[in-house]
Symmetry: D3
Amino acid sequence: MAKLTLFSGTANLLLADAVASTLGTALGECSIERFPDDEIRVTVHMDIQGHDVYLVQPTCPPVAAHFLELMFLADACQRAGASRLTAVIPYYGYARQDRRERQGEAVAARVIADALCTRFNRVIAVDLHSPAIEGFFDIPVVHLSAVPLLADSLRSFLFSDQVVTAPDLGAVKVAQKYADLLGLPVAYAHKVRLSGRKTEVHQIIGDVRARSPIVVDDMISTGGTMISTIEELLKRGCSPRLTLVASHGLFVENALERLSAYPVERVLVTDSVPPPSAPASPSVQIISLKNLLAEAIRRLHVS
Amino acid sequence: MAKLTLFSGTANLLLADAVASTLGTALGECSIERFPDDEIRVTVHMDIQGHDVYLVQPTCPPVAAHFLELMFLADACQRAGASRLTAVIPYYGYARQDRRERQGEAVAARVIADALCTRFNRVIAVDLHSPAIEGFFDIPVVHLSAVPLLADSLRSFLFSDQVVTAPDLGAVKVAQKYADLLGLPVAYAHKVRLSGRKTEVHQIIGDVRARSPIVVDDMISTGGTMISTIEELLKRGCSPRLTLVASHGLFVENALERLSAYPVERVLVTDSVPPPSAPASPSVQIISLKNLLAEAIRRLHVS
Amino acid sequence: MAKLTLFSGTANLLLADAVASTLGTALGECSIERFPDDEIRVTVHMDIQGHDVYLVQPTCPPVAAHFLELMFLADACQRAGASRLTAVIPYYGYARQDRRERQGEAVAARVIADALCTRFNRVIAVDLHSPAIEGFFDIPVVHLSAVPLLADSLRSFLFSDQVVTAPDLGAVKVAQKYADLLGLPVAYAHKVRLSGRKTEVHQIIGDVRARSPIVVDDMISTGGTMISTIEELLKRGCSPRLTLVASHGLFVENALERLSAYPVERVLVTDSVPPPSAPASPSVQIISLKNLLAEAIRRLHVS
Amino acid sequence: MAKLTLFSGTANLLLADAVASTLGTALGECSIERFPDDEIRVTVHMDIQGHDVYLVQPTCPPVAAHFLELMFLADACQRAGASRLTAVIPYYGYARQDRRERQGEAVAARVIADALCTRFNRVIAVDLHSPAIEGFFDIPVVHLSAVPLLADSLRSFLFSDQVVTAPDLGAVKVAQKYADLLGLPVAYAHKVRLSGRKTEVHQIIGDVRARSPIVVDDMISTGGTMISTIEELLKRGCSPRLTLVASHGLFVENALERLSAYPVERVLVTDSVPPPSAPASPSVQIISLKNLLAEAIRRLHVS
Amino acid sequence: MAKLTLFSGTANLLLADAVASTLGTALGECSIERFPDDEIRVTVHMDIQGHDVYLVQPTCPPVAAHFLELMFLADACQRAGASRLTAVIPYYGYARQDRRERQGEAVAARVIADALCTRFNRVIAVDLHSPAIEGFFDIPVVHLSAVPLLADSLRSFLFSDQVVTAPDLGAVKVAQKYADLLGLPVAYAHKVRLSGRKTEVHQIIGDVRARSPIVVDDMISTGGTMISTIEELLKRGCSPRLTLVASHGLFVENALERLSAYPVERVLVTDSVPPPSAPASPSVQIISLKNLLAEAIRRLHVS
Amino acid sequence: MAKLTLFSGTANLLLADAVASTLGTALGECSIERFPDDEIRVTVHMDIQGHDVYLVQPTCPPVAAHFLELMFLADACQRAGASRLTAVIPYYGYARQDRRERQGEAVAARVIADALCTRFNRVIAVDLHSPAIEGFFDIPVVHLSAVPLLADSLRSFLFSDQVVTAPDLGAVKVAQKYADLLGLPVAYAHKVRLSGRKTEVHQIIGDVRARSPIVVDDMISTGGTMISTIEELLKRGCSPRLTLVASHGLFVENALERLSAYPVERVLVTDSVPPPSAPASPSVQIISLKNLLAEAIRRLHVS
């Protein structure tokens, strides 16, 4: 059986290291130098001829740089004779550009997929924003979900009055998954122009009064969608003890700071991207993907 | 400028012919023979060296046969020296298999797209079930919408009490488009397990009581989704004068007959697929795509 | 060594099952659902990560549907992580369209081959109508022949006066193979315009008077070629005890019924396609390909 | 309209020059230097940015060198910005290796086709040994025939007693074409083991006694097949005034000298390859392809 | 003739705008938005169906972001139906990684080329670090040189005592080009271990004593190579009036400030990348590529 | 583990055989027939289903024929089911055409690489003229160097006064490698127009007076560069005991004979191409690559 070797780009070294440990190995030796002119040079410092190689790199900000790093590492491994190359991408940048909303746009998620397909044999991804992205690849995509992990973690501090809430229509399916796993009711917010006029009405479907919402989504970026949902929930008289859950916690633009103005007790995300240096409030809890990824890698490797 | 030549497969000869007439031309001469062993042989009977060729073929049932016919026509045209080949696919079969809902499934819409990309330079499609399908192609896709056409047609018999209704979450966006065009309010049906139990509750969001629903979707296949929505609307006290609208009217399995048991006044679809030999009731009205397609072809051809 | 897994499409489940048994295994679990709108959904219901997968599917009528089924199964297996995919195609539809006889035609056999090459790593085929089809693939094609099997079977009821007869020029090579294996003389029929006029003369080359012909071809479709050859042989005074042999027995359009009007004692074909529900006369004997295919699969698998 | 530019490799400069003249132009300036180490360097010495370029090069002996020359010219033209590249290959080397006759062989004609497809947009070929070769290309192949030209030329010295003769089964179709064009009867030779024993019998089908044979084939290489057919015809009492006709006259290994031992009055071939420096007898007549090729190029160019 | 449309990414809007003006047109309307999570969205805001589109974008720092922007713009233009797409890349990032210096490295320049080839039809580049990079593309590369432009500019302040100097072996060819154009002698610096020991000796070949050096290279990045050459030249007694010339002036890490410590009278570069906000000394002179690029575009467009 | 099988083309059977012996095996059985019309037919005469196959073939003169032979062998092996194909190319023809020196040229080395990439999985090469050629491949290239082997061999007859000399700038790097390995000083010759006039001056950098030069290069073709360097060295008063070293010794056009007019004591090359039938003087010593190649193959095979 080919030897398993795991390399990490610079995007999330801690997670890659944890995955390697879980697999009972150490990260492969490679270096990624940055020159003064912003170019990088990757070098694999070990013999990987014939190895089954896994490259761990979420394409979180800076997205373009992390993406090119991944491509160069792949080129280096391919030329060094790796027998099989798997991209382990816990967070897939540009996943939301999976269609042209308007004439003249690009399908950025496909551009990224095309490039990956030129160098990799397989991809491991976690909670892609849209499952149709899998169809952009003509190589196998192992699409993992962190939802069961996050739901497990929620169980330890469940209240009797909680309600899983989706902040928009796109999150209804994932909310249903949490609700099923936790045995909780579900509600969801969404914006619609029921009147035919241009003014959008933010609606909450389902009973939230005096209930503690668990607002779930695939990712928290600036926190904007979360905040408008929270405001709406509070207007509807929800209990002021909110929990926020997402697979990917980017927390850009002081998202956490802005969230701290609301009665959010807990924010639960994975380490698909490097965790924020969190403020005192709200309490951010990080659930590691290390076992999920290690298990997926082990399964691919032995088969 | 290259000569424009239009061929039709056997799937919808009437529409292809109407498009050709609208363009002020006649369909190109080609034959599609079927042998006793079910194989077909396509032959282009004219010189198309250097022509700008358009092949009109919805991939409606029998889907596989219509698809292969399109592929063989494309091969024949390519070998005969067409300078550019555009597939005009008013109805795209397998559009709903754009993702793997469960492990072990195929992404059928991508398999179709891959094959088309090997022979065609461009695709014209109408109201694809999922816009992400465009990302399955690496050739330009002109994605047309029949919604403005259908909305125009609705205008001539608008009542003051109507409400546009989406039969599930997937149709909310298209319902909003109709509502905007017609200045009507919107409602939508969907199924959810608000209680956390396994029983689904069919909900109607928005005010439908004493209103005449216009139920809109991208396609009507067996009519099952339409029927359960109609039943729910009636339960909620809607006015018993329903209109059904869809871009693609497949009407398989006696769909129209089964719909005739309900107070449906009018069913409005395009001729993307050959129209049904409709029963007396409900009244089926067919809006032709001929101008929409001819205009798109003309635009591609002159540019 | 990777695990061997065998799936069957719906075209010839009995043969696939027999091959699996011969290999000491059972067919892999997959389902192929057909929806009311004629679309199918394939699902692989087992873990095939890293398996060496073989898909058994002759592309016999309905050719297009069987072909798409095979493509979707391949896509499902590829996405599920099969390490190697082999198409086992005992009968290859469209094999006779391997060239453009006239301007404007397609090379349908190449269109099929191109599509297969996008999803499969290897192909196993049996007695392709033209060996040049192998050149349409850029993946290895294991081209098996059922001729030795069929010749073996003929041996048990050989008469001293038999003569192997090719019904046209295209079958001369295969007739020679049978003749060599059986130690019999060979004759052949063919049409030619020796006079330079437009009237074709059906000729029989070789001595057939008072001999019992074994007419051999690669396939029997409507039986038309066989029947005109039989009539010619009888005119030339052959013995009225004919045997017909072909690798592929499609028997479309009441072929067997029409053949029953002639002194055909026995029709010998393989189970590359599902056997006909044969009439009382002529006696149809089916030679199974199960050992031939199982052996080829075993050989590919262990290497 | 793009400018038409014609280049010639070194294989048949005279023909290329004649084609250019016929088109009312001169050959484009390019040089092909050969270095002492057997490598060549091609250089295009004119601006061809945006031109419609045709490269004339039969791949006659030395086949490999002529083939590489053609590939390098194509690369040079592509990099110099030609808008369209057409390979004009009057004689296609390796056309007879279009299938694997035995396990372990290559499909050389496909290897050549694959390489051409990487650099060219279209191919013009003349009387390919097997029409299935067209299916090896996924670019358009204009497949011309010199048969009408050669038949025209034969008309000027037709005797009343002539018979068109195919030297083997593979040439029967082409013989029929000549016979139809000339209004002559057809005969053919072939080898078969009618007896089931290993000894081949060379047969002549059709009436040749006291007739003057016109033996036709797609090419004459060493002349071996021609000679054994001539010997057989003479044995059968044909008139000792033979004519030999082929599209491609390679005449390797003193073919003409050896043919001069037989009563061959005339050998008719095209200039697809450079004509032999012919001996006094038999009389070799060369029919130029210049008009045929020029017409095909003109047709491609204006469309 | 197709319409010419020019778009600019964000890397060098001034140059793109100048090129458009030179061509007598305005830049096409497109927008490039940056989201808080570092992702960008490109949108083409005009109809470019059938246009001949040119995208101007040097891949200067931030290299990865500029590269992805270019790729997304290309995807948007392709999907919007551009008939031809040309990447105009005045400065090609990662050009120096055109080979693996050591085991384990990547060939980054090829990774970039591969991605460009998936979306573009042609590339225009200026003074690539290595001409072999052209071979990484299988699309035409118009490789322009700014050397004649820069030499022209040098002419206006030529001293009689100048000497063109290459700072290392890699720059000898370009130095020779300048020397030929200006009628000046050439010298060059390089490091070598003539003694076989590990200590490198920085050598100056050619006579520089009391001469004013014009040090030329393809690019100035940190200025390190320039500075060590200047120091060596001064040691050898050159005249303290140095001129530095390069096609690409990146000037990272305070290059200009550090150069100001030396007797550099003038630094001459093009606007392939946005010019630095230069300090008082040394005097930086920018030669625009606008005419060179406009001319190349015009030539491609009309052909 | 897959079985290792080694085939040889006709270019260097002795080396291939020596490599096989070193690996403890024999060359695989294949035949390469040449027909009178200059076409070849390759046949693999053994079962290689699933084998790990290595094809040894330097593309030395006749370059085109050796190249096509390699391609056909690869096609035969691929169709016969080899699991992995590695081209072992000790000498890579056309390596010097790795860039377009002038407009209108081809990048021949890329044309060769493209063709190899269509059939092979990996390449083993030795001392490529330019390392950038590796970037022309998108398959792994194991780039071996014979320099340590040749340096080892030089050690046995080292004089105290030797100096490693590069005959031009392109060979400086390789000269430095020899000098480092042997602990010798380095010098180099090159041509430059220091004066700005058109006359080139052949310079020798480094001290060569009364020293015995070891002139090193990657290859010796006609010996022209070597001879002009030798003449210059002698002018500069070097000791008349020269040694010439190169990885590839083509010795075309009586190179050895012409070299015999100079005081060359020894010429050292590898057997990458078949050794010359050497004259009495100078003494040519051949260092075999068999161990180097066998080791590389073994390493690839076990991994």
